[in-house]
Amino acid sequence: MITKISRYAIVSLIVISLSILLPDLYWMIFGKPIIKPSIYYSPVIEEFMIATRTGNNKKEYSDQKGNSYDRKSFETLLPFSFYYNLEKWGILPDSIKGIPMKRTYIRHNSQYLRITNRAMNTPLISLNPLFESESDFTRLEMPGELFRIDQKFEFITASDNTVDDSLSCIFNGALLDQDFQFPAKIIAGNPTTRKPFDEGYFIVDAQNTVFHLKKIKGQPHCVKTDIPPDLNIRAIFISEHPRKEFYGVIVTWTNEVCLITYDNYKILQLPVEGYRADDMQLLLSVNPLYQMIRYSDMKEMKSVVIDNNYKIVDKYASSWTPKEEWKSSKIASVLFPFSIERTTRSSDYVQFKVKFNGHLSWIGILFALLATFICKRFVYREKLRTNWIDFIIVFGTGIFGAITVLLIRPEPWD
């Protein structure tokens, strides 16, 4: 009996391996890239503009009404995005809607903030450097220690790998003075010296209150913000920018996206209807006239343009044939009843996810059963009654099971 079970152990492992290997090989042969269009908003004609990369690495340019353009006239209508080209061609207008079209002005008033689903699903060690925010020198400098906020606030010095008790005590006291409840749930900052200035960290405490912590002249500067604790914050992305309009973006567990503004940490909800943080990438691009939010998954892209008062100006949605509707996906569904997904584009975590391929798989399963029966009955001449479980395996796993039970054959059991 146990040897019989041992055979099924081998069979199930080989089925698992085949359900990793065969779909991988299949998509290695038949996979093609999903090319997303680039969407812009023209302040000149007040319409969305679309650049699409076609198969042979060429680009097609059009507006939302379907008029096509060559590259130069396309870029001419998008002066905030291609001002450097327009300047080179000598056709950069002096102003657009009262906005002076100077290279430095546009650059200073343009900002990009990208939120990827991968950044939301990645393991992180919560140890960060706290920069001096008001240094006497121009460039930000990396401090000699990292901080953690577990049951208390601690600085760990890198040179000797020990806790700096005196400095930790000062910062711990500053947090306690503001009623901080340990431990911290989220510590969000921009831990790099490659930024124009430093805004420190936004820290969500055990009671979901958001605190803003900075180091100013070596001393803690901690503010208990009025950001509502019931916002259900999932992640915060901080991006320091000379415009000083917002510190960064909050993404909530209910897929809301809010800006944390410099106006006393007032929260501004962005109009991102249908945004799903786990599946989508979001890009907020700001130019002197408009702010554009683009968010997309593997099937569709939505674009919303808002003005500087956060009023919606225009919306645009584009979609393309999703991978599930490709002919090659349908054939894969017939061939493979399921596949095992280990890595995805949307997460850094390795998974073991069984992905079923829907009702089309039944065709493949029937063929697999038939092939198994014919082979076992007429080629191998096995006793079918003693090994009926093999058919159940093929019924559940289709081609994977059929290949396995035909390779790893039952023995004449004792």
């Binding site: 152990a9 085949l18 790998n161 390795v350």
Partner: protein, 223 residues
Amino acid sequence: MYKAILYKEWLKIRWMVLGYLIILLGFLTYIGLDTRYWFEMNDPIQVWLVVIQRKILYYTAIKYIPVFAAIVLAIVQFVPEMVKKRYRLSFHLPIGETHSLLFMIAIGVAVMLITSAIYLLGLTLIGMTFFPAEVTRSSLITVAPWLLAGIVTYLGATAVTVDPSWKYRIVYILLFAPFIQSLFLEGGYGEYQFSFGTYLLISLIFSIMVLFPGYRLRKGSKL
């Protein structure tokens, strides 16, 4: 009887175990020295940030060591048994074939577990010397799939060695590989923290796998 089998197994594997221990300690020492060199040559905070933010794993040198050791262990333990079909002698022992095979496998798994403990201990010592506790903890979580791969490879390799037919051996080698490869897919630290339990559960299937090749060996199956 079990004591005698234990002694026989020990005679077969002792040099291999000693060799593995020397290599493992050698590699751990290398990682320790290499990490120390990093800290000497760079600003310590930069080394920390490279490990934490850029997710460079300072211990990748020992990534595949358990897998290689497992293959060698299975070979030194079972190839001598297969030469001239010596293993068939154990069918005449007053102990069932299932029990004796499982006991032999258990000895191999015990060796893999003990060496895994040394592996983890070494990494803990290196981590605690140079890094904050969070980094050390993450290193132990990150290497867990590699150590599991060692045990799974050992169990797979025993099945390959014990089976009497080359056709089956090749199928086993080709088709155990994708599962074992699944344990080496990380691009940074801690990426298996949500799926490790599933991989561990599936790996349990490997534990009784050797019995079928053992049965085929006894029956002299030529399929």
